[in-house]
């Protein structure tokens, strides 16, 4: 491998690059999906290749190829330099990536049971049993359950002297049940919606979640929702469960703290951010009990690794401290840009650059952006709430291009009356403006009810990239929230 990385870095420098790095990546993926009693997907995918990123004439260039051969390394490294020189045609100032990052190291996801070593039969049997349980409920039209396993081996080398080898292993699982009646469709998912829950871990991650034991309940809840009353409209108190709150954190905190968005590089696609540098260290983002961190060291988190794809070590960063906005997700380049505006900002990147494979350039992605736990027990929180709605598991999401106005829908909701859970409600939605919403947070459940939820489908960038991110959350309460918008 050293021969390939040295060749690329040397050639890029000879062609005129002032900085170059190369990532060689091999990713294996196994998908298994059972739908309505049939194994619909059983697939083994493998992809490998390399990407060379350079700075030449003060501008960026990147080229990639699937052909791991010396001649192709030469062609692609030279092409990256040519592209960088073309970028310089529209340059305003030279790229500044700050002080060097030099690390020689290896990192491997801690894995107890290698998921690729578990027999396929065992995995298929687990899903078939789950499917059977879910469809034993009368009225279930669709049951779909899946397992996903990923192993990514990547080597990073740079002209600054870094050489880092990593192996990231992910395991994921999910079940969705759907019930349909005249003009109505309802669904319930476990452990999380939109495909699956996932973490950086081995097969032990799958064993921790009792997929079979929860399948029938998911089916029953989906069917019960068909005849449940519509979620009412108005201003009320809302309690969100962990999975829904994880997505709320992802959309309304995780994205707006991406410093590349803040500086406009996503403006034409995903949008920008209301958290502009003038708000750094001064904006009251939430109530005093709101503490949010970005922590790439969280065990089993889907945003956990050893080094980011610029070769910067994984770190933990405060984002919101006692309600005050205090930190961004950064890259080497945006760290330098921020310090020109905010001289007190950190000197080094906090290691948030990741690429979706060998053929994509690293961009700032969430690591594990988590709402820190509070003190409450869920039962006490319900008992302490006179009137409101308890909402569980995301069904739909939308947020504006500065991450202020959001609207979420959940699969399941319950009325709260006089401190007790009441009737089930369907089609629940809530909407708000980010700082006002987080400012209304007055209770968060304790660490005993806190879990790191995996989001394996975060889209950003052009060409499109899908990131895997983690979000720790425990149920929390919000006051004066507008709910129920479907007519």
């Amino acid at each position: 491998m050293r021969e390939l990385t040295d060749r690329a870095l040397n050639l890029a420098q000879v062609q005129g690059a002032s900085y170059a790095d190369i990532r060689i990546v091999h990713r294996e993926t196994q998908y298994i999906t059972v739908k309505n009693g049939v194994v619909q997907e059983l697939e083994l995918d493998s992809t490998q290749g390399f990407g060379v990123r350079v700075i030449a004439d003060g501008a960026w260039g990147f080229a990639s190829s699937h052909l791991l051969a010396l001649a192709e390394i030469d062609r692609v490294a030279a092409l990256a330099v040519t592209i960088a020189k073309a970028s310089a045609l529209a340059k305003i100032e030279d790229v500044d990536i700050g002080p060097p990052e030099v690390h020689v190291d290896t990192y491997r996801t801690p894995v107890e049971i290698d998921p690729f070593a578990v027999p396929l039969n065992d995995k298929v049997s687990l899903l078939l049993e789950t499917d059977k349980e879910a469809r034993s409920v009368k009225g279930i039209m669709v049951a779909e359950s899946s397992l996903t396993f990923i192993r990514e081996n990547k080597t990073f080398a740079s002209t600054e002297g870094s050489y880092i080898e990593q192996e990231i292993v992910e395991s994921g699982l999910g079940l969705v049940t759907m019930a349909v009646s005249e003009g109505e469709m309802q669904q319930r998912s476990y452990p999380n919606s939109f495909g699956r829950h996932q973490g950086t871990a081995g097969y032990e991650f799958i064993q921790q979640w009792d997929l079979v034991g929860n399948a029938r309940r998911m089916g029953e809840e989906a069917v019960a929702l068909l005849s449940a009353p519509q979620c009412p409209s108005g201003l009320t108190t809302v309690i969100l469960d962990g999975p829904q709150l994880a997505l709320q954190v992802h959309e309304s905190c995780g994205h707006p703290i991406e410093l590349d968005r803040v500086f406009g590089t996503e403006a034409a696609f995903a949008g920008t951010s209301f958290l502009t540098p003038d708000k750094y260290g001064t904006l009251r983002y939430g109530s005093g009990i709101v503490n949010i961190t970005a922590d790439a060291l969280t065990p089993t988190g889907l945003g956990t690794f050893g080094y980011d794809d610029e070769g910067v070590p994984a770190q933990a960063t405060d984002v919101v401290k006692n309600g005050l906005f205090v930190g961004y997700l950064t890259s080497r380049e945006t760290t330098s840009q921020l310090r020109r505006i905010q001289p007190n900002a950190p000197v080094r990147s906090n290691g948030s650059m990741r690429a979706d494979g060998w053929n994509r350039i690293p961009i700032i992605r969430m690591t594990n952006v988590s709402l820190q736990p509070g003190e409450w027990a869920p039962d006490d929180l319900i008992a302490d709430t006179d009137k409101g709605i308890y909402m569980l598991t995301n069904k739909s999401w939308s947020i504006d291009d500065k991450r202020l106005n959001f609207q979420f829908g959940t699969e399941l909701a319950y009325e709260i009356k006089n401190g007790k859970l009441g009737r089930m409600l369907k089609n629940a939605t809530y909407t708000g403006i980010t700082p006002q919403f987080w400012g209304s947070c007055d209770a968060i459940c304790s660490v005993d009810h806190w879990h790191v939820w995996g989001t394996p489908n975060c889209g950003k960038g052009q060409p499109g990239q899908v990131a895997h991110t983690g979000h720790g959350a425990a149920p929390a309460r919000f006051r004066n929230v507008r709910v129920g918008l479907i007519k």
Binding site: T33, K35, S87, F269, N359, D400, D401
Partner: protein
């Protein structure tokens, strides 16, 4: 780029390695180049060369799929063996009958040499011009300019052998001031027809006209939706319910409603992979020739698209050539849809509107209630108040929560021109006109 002969040679090599009852090989190849800019400078400039070989091995009614991107004999043999191993672990899939037999496939001319050979310098020159014009007006330009060559090969052991090579050039820009933004985009097979200067000029004009926006109360308004906003709704209908599997599972808005009026009489929607106004693709990912399928005609629910699996579940149905790559649980989907035009220009729509809202495009739309086609999202990059037939002031962006089919039942005017619009992900495209819609429901506002 592999080229036709090399692609077919790889496909033949894979088929010869297989011992399965039936074998299918699907190859995606090509090059993608993209120059991305923001704050009036290029910040990302990338090039990618890749090929993916997907093998489906079939034993009786058992199937397995494996893929890889290493073209060596040893690697391809491993992919075939993996697919066969996986298939043997499978259970019978009762919906599977056979891989498709060969059938005539009409060639389409979807390749442009100018697009395929566009250089980083040529893209940078275009981007530099947009950035310079933006800077001269104290504005900031962001966007992306991409040129892509895409190859698809599908072959199977029953004799199917099809190759398609197409090019796509795409430019998008958002130009911003302190408190405003404007958007424009263009997509074409041939980069020389893209007119990037026009794209830059439209976006800049909108950015300048939308400065100092003010709020308006949410509620039901007449709207003039530019083509992007209409296309967003059409994309949503495509994946929510225009596929046969969604109907068979009862989760489509078309389920049980064929022959019924589900939209206004002026709404006709169809899918056609051979129409040169779209991004052409003559066959699907099973190698079946794409048919023109009418989905809604004069407001009546007419039909949905099929792949071989969903066709096999219904008496008398055949695949319409809309399969996604196997395996998938999503089912067939229209990838080249069109909405019929009307007679109006956007100026005529504007002149006819006493009070309403002009929408350039939507942002982050997502279904809230799929069967009722209720969609939510935000307006973005050029939202204006219309009073007495004229645009009177820019508006802060609004959230809508609106049933698409209800909106399509209240379309008062349709634009006379179709615009080709690519989805944010992949090269799925629709051709849509602008539309004037009565009583479009806005449910919230934001701060900019």
């Amino acid at each position: 780029m592999l080229g036709k002969e090399r692609s077919k040679e790889i496909a033949d090599r894979v088929l010869a390695l297989s011992s399965a009852d039936q074998t299918e090989v699907l190859i995606f190849g090509g090059n993608q180049h993209l120059t991305r800019f923001a704050v009036n400078t290029i910040h990302q400039n990338v090039s990618e060369t890749d090929v993916t070989v997907r093998v489906r091995a079939v034993f009786g009614k058992k199937m397995g799929v494996a893929s890889g991107n290493d073209l060596s004999d040893e690697a391809l043999r491993k992919v075939v063996e993996s697919a066969e191993t996986v298939a043997r672990f499978q259970q019978d899939n009762p919906d599977f009958h056979s891989l498709p037999e060969p059938q005539p496939i009409e060639k389409v001319d979807a390749y442009s040499e100018a697009t395929a050979t566009c250089t980083p310098e040529e893209r940078a020159t275009v981007v530099s011009a947009i950035c310079a014009a933006s800077r001269e007006n104290d504005l900031e330009a962001a966007g992306a300019f991409s040129t892509t060559v895409e190859e698809v090969v599908i072959a199977n052991s029953l004799g199917v052998s099809a190759y398609h090579c197409g090019t796509v050039a795409h430019i998008v820009t958002v130009i911003m001031s302190e408190d405003s933004s404007g958007y424009a985009t263009a997509t074409a097979m041939d980069v020389s027809t893209l007119e990037p200067e026009t794209v830059g000029r439209i976006a800049m004009d909108k950015a300048l006209r939308s400065r100092h926006p003010t709020s308006i109360e949410p509620g039901a308004y007449a709207v003039i939706l530019e083509e992007d906003a209409v296309a967003d709704m059409l994309f949503t209908l495509n994946y929510l319910g225009f596929g046969a599997l969604a109907v068979q599972e009862g989760r489509s808005f078309m389920s049980g409603r064929f022959g019924e009026k589900i939209a206004g009489e002026n709404i006709t929607i169809w899918d056609d992979g051979h129409d040169p106004r779209g991004l052409m693709l003559p066959f699907d990912f099973e190698g079946v020739s794409k048919q023109r399928v009418t989905l809604i005609e004069n407001g009546i629910a007419e039909g949905v698209v099929y792949d071989s699996f969903t066709a096999g579940r219904e008496e008398g149905k055949v695949s319409t050539g809309h399969s996604l790559p196997a395996p998938n649980t999503f089912g067939p989907v229209p990838l080249n849809s069109f909405m019929a035009t009307g007679q109006a220009t956007k100026d005529e729509m504007l002149a006819s509107t006493e009070r309403g809202i002009w929408v350039t495009r939507f942002h982050y739309t997502n279904p809230v209630h799929p069967i009722k086609t209720v969609l939510t999202g935000m307006t973005r990059d050029g939202t204006f108040l219309i009073e007495n037939g004229e645009i009177t002031r820019p508006l802060k962006n609004l959230r809508f929560t609106q049933s698409i089919l209800d909106a399509f039942s209240r379309v008062e005017m349709l634009g006379s021109e179709l615009k080709l619009l690519r989805s944010g992900w992949g090269n799925f495209a629709v051709c849509a006109p602008a539309a004037k819609v009565e009583e479009f429901r806005f449910t919230g506002t934001t701060e900019f």
